[in-house]
Symmetry: C2
Subunit: 417 residues, 2 copies
């Protein structure tokens, strides 16, 4: 991406130096596995004449992810560091025509903001100039499709209630989901505000959830993240950009072809209780080692667990209640897959509480077939998973993510028209 930068105090001489310097780094980068990051960051490095690139910080603020395309961005996009999830409810007066007008407005905002351009009525256009891989992903709840007079897929409904759930209705469901994510929290904050300004005549805010992951550059982009329990989380994800990913995530026929289903669950993690669990018990509860993420049966993070392995006393090395065994459905002979794209949350505990934290995970998964991929996993984990002892789902929502749109279209157009 190239664009003029206000206030740049560096001349052509420095630019030449930098191009030389960063090209050196770039050449080494060819062939690495940091999907979606390697080429784009090189573009930043080469396209900006910048003192801090010289100082050893490669700038990523002007990085963009394309908005238009077959799929919406923000799913098969290497997870950005900050995200805000908005659950919105359509106001009563909004009819099909109004709904489409709103989607046109929000699509236009998203198309501009994600490319580093101010939204049309942006009163702080200076805040839009660092998109930092901003994506805005639209999800539709059943209420939105009904309002549009569009058939609601059978699976698009609240999940069945699970025994482990303690759902707070104000943290779940909604007619419209906006997932706003970028590598910079100020960018997310500004984009959310612009979107809400245009959405507010049509919708009321049902819930807002802020999440975070490791900042860009804190660790290698291809490194699996740890959740707040300290566990490597996401090792089993299909690889971005692979055929396997497409099979797991993208719906391949029907009106939503090119889209996917999204489950968003707010899962409170009892960090105080977890503190009292020793390392052996922790590792048994997951079936993996906290330090390396490798299965207890041996090997590293990406090695397959050997669920048949037994100890010298004949007990399974990966216990029957272990999360990794239950998630895989080993004992039922099944193996479903989903793509997880979760964020951490950590908010002040309620006033007067003796708790030292109110924290957990905004669990987000995408899968082509909610009923056949997500549900069996969730049901097994609800039935038996030692981790349940320290985790409580407190919010839950299901959305359909419509396919991406072409320039001039609005998100969802092929579905609603």
């Amino acid at each position: 991406m190239s664009r003029a930068r206000d206030g740049d105090r560096n001349g052509p001489a420095r630019r030449q130096l930098l191009l030389a310097g960063t090209a050196g780094v770039g050449a080494i980068g060819v062939g690495t596995a940091a999907i979606g990051l390697d080429r784009s960051l090189l573009r930043t490095a080469a396209g900006q004449e910048d003192a801090s690139a010289a100082a050893g910080v490669l700038l990523h603020g002007s990085e963009t992810v394309p908005f238009h395309g077959q799929h919406q961005a923000g799913v098969e996009t290497a997870a950005q560091a900050s995200a805000t999830f908005l659950g919105l409810d359509l106001r009563e007066h909004v009819d099909r025509e109004g709904l489409i007008r709103m989607l046109r407005l929000l699509t236009d905002d998203a198309a501009r903001l994600t490319q580093g351009l101010p939204a049309l009525a942006d009163t702080e256009p200076e805040m839009a100039t660092e998109p930092a891989r901003l994506t805005v992903t639209f999800g539709f709840g059943p209420g939105l499709l009904e309002r549009a007079g569009t058939e609601v897929p059978e699976w698009l409904a609240p999940l069945p209630s699970f025994e482990i759930d303690e759902l707070e209705p104000e943290l779940g469901e909604g007619d419209l989901l906006l997932q706003v994510a970028a590598d910079d929290p100020l960018t997310v904050s500004h984009a959310v505000r612009m979107l809400l300004k245009d959405a507010r005549a049509f919708t009321a805010v049902r819930w807002v959830q802020h999440g975070f992951r490791r900042a860009l550059g804190t660790q290698r982009p291809e490194t699996t993240q740890r959740n707040l329990f300290g566990q490597l989380d996401g090792s089993a994800n299909p690889e971005l950009g692979s055929d396997h990913f497409s099979e797991v995530v993208w719906i391949d026929d029907g009106p939503f072809a090119g889209g996917t289903s999204m489950v968003l669950r707010r899962i409170r993690m009892d960090l105080d209780g977890w503190d009292e669990v020793d390392r052996v018990a922790r590792d048994n509860s997951t079936g993996t080692r906290q330090d390396t993420g490798g299965p207890l049966s041996g090997g590293g993070e990406f090695d397959e667990p050997d669920f048949a392995a037994t100890s010298e006393h004949g007990f399974p090395i990966i216990p029957e209640f272990a999360h990794v065994r239950r998630a895989r459905g080993v004992d039922e002979g099944e193996h479903q897959e989903i793509f997880r794209r979760p964020y951490n949350y950590d908010v002040p505990p309620p006033a007067g509480s003796e708790a030292v934290s109110e924290a957990g995970q905004i669990f987000v998964s995408f899968q082509a077939d909610l009923l056949r991929q997500f549900l069996p996993i969730q049901q097994r984990l609800s039935d038996l998973d030692l981790l349940n002892q320290w985790t409580t789902p407190i919010g839950s929502a299901v959305f359909v993510i419509p396919p991406g749109c072409a320039e001039g279209e609005y998100v969802g157009q092929t579905v609603l028209e």
Copy 2:
């Protein structure tokens, strides 16, 4: 910083390549003004054999800021991207001896965590390995000094109440302040948790405030940040590392020599109201241009305002009510300075609220002499400052930041003993 990395899959050959590549960037970096970042980031680049450095991302996760020294870290430290501020109240049973035991524990935690080492009793030691310039800064309220039997400086008390204040007591004051800041929010979250685990037997949490700034690398480190109004904020700060900074910030004699005073105020910003203000009115309210940060009298962000300049009709170009004029005390012939190190906050609006945001600034300032530097500025701004129309202080706290400590000492030792 050099340390073994678990799971590193790169061999010496790649290391050599990287050293060559990053050294090229490094050489260009010499002489830039990114204080506290240039050298340290180069160290990261050279010290890590890492695929993502090759991909164009220079890793900053292992960067450290020294914990021990004449001054506490986290003041004259280039502001990190994420910060959590904790206001803690001593439990009734804690006597002087217990207080010192707690400070020893927390000092030990902070000394370890900031250097990338797990705290003693850390049940997630894997979470401590990316300090990302973590600093933990201790501040004492009057209650802590009283409990220790130490004389309380006259200025260490709640600020006088200002007409603009709508303070919520649960967001202000406290016996012990911990400012925990790093370039990575997961690092901050883990450090806060470790500190609170050790503090909880001695203190109750009074308030927790999370703040954010631009992510590292989103813009050049030396660039002034915009606040959520879109204004460049902090242009007038003394330069880190300068003699001028020391004069403005560090107390130079008495028991707190090497320390400073800290004001922390939570300032709600009415973004909805601000939206309705056009650009001319916005610029008049601050006396500066929103786009460049330059004064209305002409010039760029760092040029001095010409407060005497008048329009052709004889009116002052920088209005009498303008923030920049009031902050400087031009009309009273005064010119006090403080060092501001603020963070943004943006939290979900209260349930059922029609507001689309609950956002603002965690205003943080450090100054050697609270009464002579901070108070006159605050009084003038309270008396007249057009920006007050869209800002409301809802929390306020004053702390003394004791000087830094040497290895083997605890923070505050020279003050309390």
